[in-house]
Symmetry: C2
Subunit: 333 residues, 2 copies
DNA sequence: CTGTTAGCGCGTTCAA
DNA sequence: TTGAACGCGCTAACAG
C-alpha cells in the first residue's frame, strides 16, 4: 500500500538520465553538466517533483524541522511569538512543527516525544516544563532544546528570558512619577517563572522604598481574570490609583471593569501598566502603557543557537522596553 | 557527518534481541512475545528511543504530517483557527507543519512546495490562492488539498466555507430590528472570497428591500482600517446608525473611533455587527454582536476528509450563527 | 514467535 | 562528469 508520489527515479526515466544525476541537480555544490541539469529541471517541473526531505534527512545530520511547543496558541502574545518564530525559521529554510500542549508536564513530555520521533533539529518550548529525563532523551537524539521564559535550569539547554528583574523598578518608578499613591499589583495565580519574577521584582522595588503594595491575584492569565481582579481591587478597601498588571490581558480586564463597573477614568483615576505589548494594548480603547520584549531578537537567538554546532547550553537575558501610552497619567511637572 | 541519534539497532543490541523485534513492538498489531516486548520497552526507555517517523514514512502511505498554510497568524481569528486545527489533528495522532505566508500567490506556492517536500498527507490552505499547476503537483504527490474560505475552485480539493450568502440577510434584519435607519457597510479593500461574499449578500439583501447602504472600504482587514473607515463614515455625510463590518477587527476599530473621536454611544447612537467572534468581541469594551463560524466543525471536517481514502474533492458549506451582545440596540417592542 | 532478506527514496562513496 | 553500489532507519515478506 504505497503512497502515490513522484520520485527521483521517475524524473530520471523521464529525462533519460540516471537517478543520481537527479539527486545531484538538487544537491547544492554537486557536479552536474549544465545540459543534464536543464533536462532534469525540465522533467522535474513537468512531473511536479520535489525532493523528499523525509528521505533526505536519513542521510544528513539535519532534518530541517524545528518544533515549537506551546499552549494557548490563540492568545495574542503567544500567537505573535509563534508567528515571528515561524517566519524567522522559515527564512533560514527550516520548517516548523507546531505542537499544541495544555501546559501540563505530561503534555510537554508528549510534545517532546513527537519532536524526537520526527527528528526535529531543535525544540523550542514556550509553555510548561520538561523534566530532566525527557530532556536527556532529546539530547540522546541530537535534539537541541530551547526554553523561552522558563526558569527551570535544564542542562545543555538554551534559556532565553526577558530581564524580569529590571521590570519591577521601572514599573514602580513609572507609577510613582505619574503621581500614584496607592499602588497595587494584579497577577494571575499561574506560577509561571517569568510572571513570578515580574511580581517579585515589583514587590522588591516597593519594599526597598517602603511603599506598601496591595497584591491581588486570581485565576489564569486571561482577560477574565483581569475582570475578577479588578472587581476585587476596586470594591474592597482603599481604591488603588496605580496598578501594575503582569500581563496585558489582565490589564485589559482590569481597565474594562474599572471603567464600566466602577466609573473610573483612566488615567485620571487610575494608572495602569501591563506586560507583553499585545496588539490590543495599542487599540484606542486601551492605549496601554506596557513592556515589550524583543520578539524578533529572541527568535533570532533561537535560530542562531540552533544553527551553530556547539552544544553547550546557556542563558540569554533580553532587555524589555516600556512602551509609553495613555494609560499612565503624565507627570504633573 | 551523521546525526547522533538512538536507533532501533541500538535498542536491539541493548536488549539482546534482533532489530526487527524492536520494530515489531512499536508496530500495532505485530506479533511479539510479551517477554521480548518487555525487554525492548525497557531498553527503549533507558536509551530514550523513539521510532523515527521520518524513516517509517518511507514505507507507509502516511507520513503523519499535515500542513497548515496561513498568513497573518498572529491575528485573533486566524490564531484561534490554527489552535483548534492543530488540536484536532493532534488528537488523531497527526502532527502539524505551520507554514507562514504573506498571502501572495508566490508564497502560497512556496508553502505547497514545502508541503510536497515533507510529504504532507494533506495541506490546509487558509490564506492565498494556489494556482492549478501547484495543485496538480500536490495531487501527483498524493497530497490532499483543503481550501478554507477560498472561492476558487480547485479540482479534487475540498472547499470549506461558511454560508456567507445567508449572512447579509441576517445582519440586515438584525440592524433593522434594532431600529436602524441609516445603514452602512464597512469593509476592507482586500478581495478575499468570503469577505466579498459577505458584502455581496448584505448589499443584495438591502437592494431587495429598497434600502440604501453606504459602502465604505479601506486598507487591509485590520483594526487600523476600522479606524479609517469609521472616521470616514462619521465625518462625512449623514451619520449611519447601523453598520455591518465584514470582520470583528474592523468592527472594533469602527466602534473605538465612533466613541472616542465622535462621542457616539453604542448601541444608543450606533448599532454594530461584526464577523468572526474573536475573543475581543466578548470583552466588556466591545460586547460586539457578531457571527461565529463553527471552527471545531470545520477542523473536524478537514480531518475526516484527510483520513478517508476517497480522493474526490467537494464543497462543504458550514452554517454561521449570530452571537447577540450589547452592540446592537434592543428592539423597541 | 523469531530472525533473515529486501526495499522505501535519497546522498555519498568509488570507478569509469 | 556520470553511473553502479552501498547505507541511512525503518517496515513488510519470507523462511525457520
Amino acid at each position: 500500500m504505497k503512497r502515490n508520489q513522484v520520485t527521483a527515479q521517475d524524473v530520471a526515466r523521464h529525462a533519460g538520465v540516471s537517478r543520481v544525476s537527479v539527486s545531484r541537480t538538487f544537491t547544492p555544490g554537486a557536479s552536474v553538466s549544465a545540459k543534464t541539469r536543464e533536462l532534469v529541471l525540465k522533467s522535474a517541473a513537468e512531473l511536479g517533483y520535489q525532493v523528499n526531505h523525509l528521505a533526505r534527512s536519513l542521510h544528513s545530520a539535519n532534518s530541517g524541522i524545528v518544533a515549537l511547543i506551546a499552549s494557548e496558541v490563540e492568545t495574542p502574545h503567544r500567537a505573535e511569538m509563534l508567528s515571528v518564530m515561524t517566519e524567522v525559521f522559515q527564512s533560514a529554510g527550516k520548517v516548523t512543527l507546531l505542537i499544541n500542549t495544555n501546559g501540563s508536564d505530561a503534555s510537554v513530555k508528549d510534545a517532546l516525544m513527537q519532536a524526537i520521533r520526527f527528528r526535529t533539529e531543535t525544540a523550542v518550548v514556550l509553555s510548561g516544563t520538561p523534566d530532566q529525563s525527557i530532556a536527556e532523551a532529546c539530547q540522546s537524539n541530537g535534539i537541541k532544546l530551547v526554553l523561552i521564559n522558563r526558569a527551570d535550569e535544564i542542562d545543555n539547554a538554551l534559556h532565553i528570558l526577558p530581564d524580569n528583574d529590571s521590570v519591577g523598578e521601572i514599573a514602580l518608578n513609572a507609577l510613582l512619577n505619574a503621581g500614584c499613591e496607592t499602588i497595587a499589583l494584579a497577577n494571575s495565580d499561574t506560577q509561571t517563572a517569568s510572571i513570578l519574577a515580574r511580581e517579585r521584582s515589583f514587590l522588591k522595588a516597593a519594599q526597598a522604598r517602603g511603599i506598601a503594595v496591595r497584591r491581588c491575584t486570581s485565576g489564569l492569565t486571561t482577560y477574565a481574570s483581569g475582570l475578577e481582579i479588578g472587581t476585587d481591587l476596586f470594591s474592597r478597601g482603599v481604591r488603588p490609583d496605580g496598578v501594575f498588571c503582569t500581563t496585558d490581558l489582565i490589564a485589559c480586564g482590569v481597565m474594562d471593569v474599572a471603567r464600566q463597573r466602577f466609573g473610573m477614568q483612566i488615567p485620571q483615576d487610575l494608572s495602569v501598566i501591563g506586560f507583553d505589548d499585545i496588539a490590543q494594548a495599542g487599540w484606542e480603547a486601551y492605549q496601554l502603557t506596557t513592556f515589550r520584549q524583543p520578539i524578533e531578537k529572541i527568535s533570532q537567538a533561537c535560530l542562531d543557537w540552533s544553527l551553530e554546532s556547539g552544544e553547550e547550553g546557556g542563558k540569554i537575558t533580553v532587555p524589555v522596553r516600556l512602551v509609553l501610552r495613555e494609560s499612565l497619567r503624565r507627570p504633573a511637572s
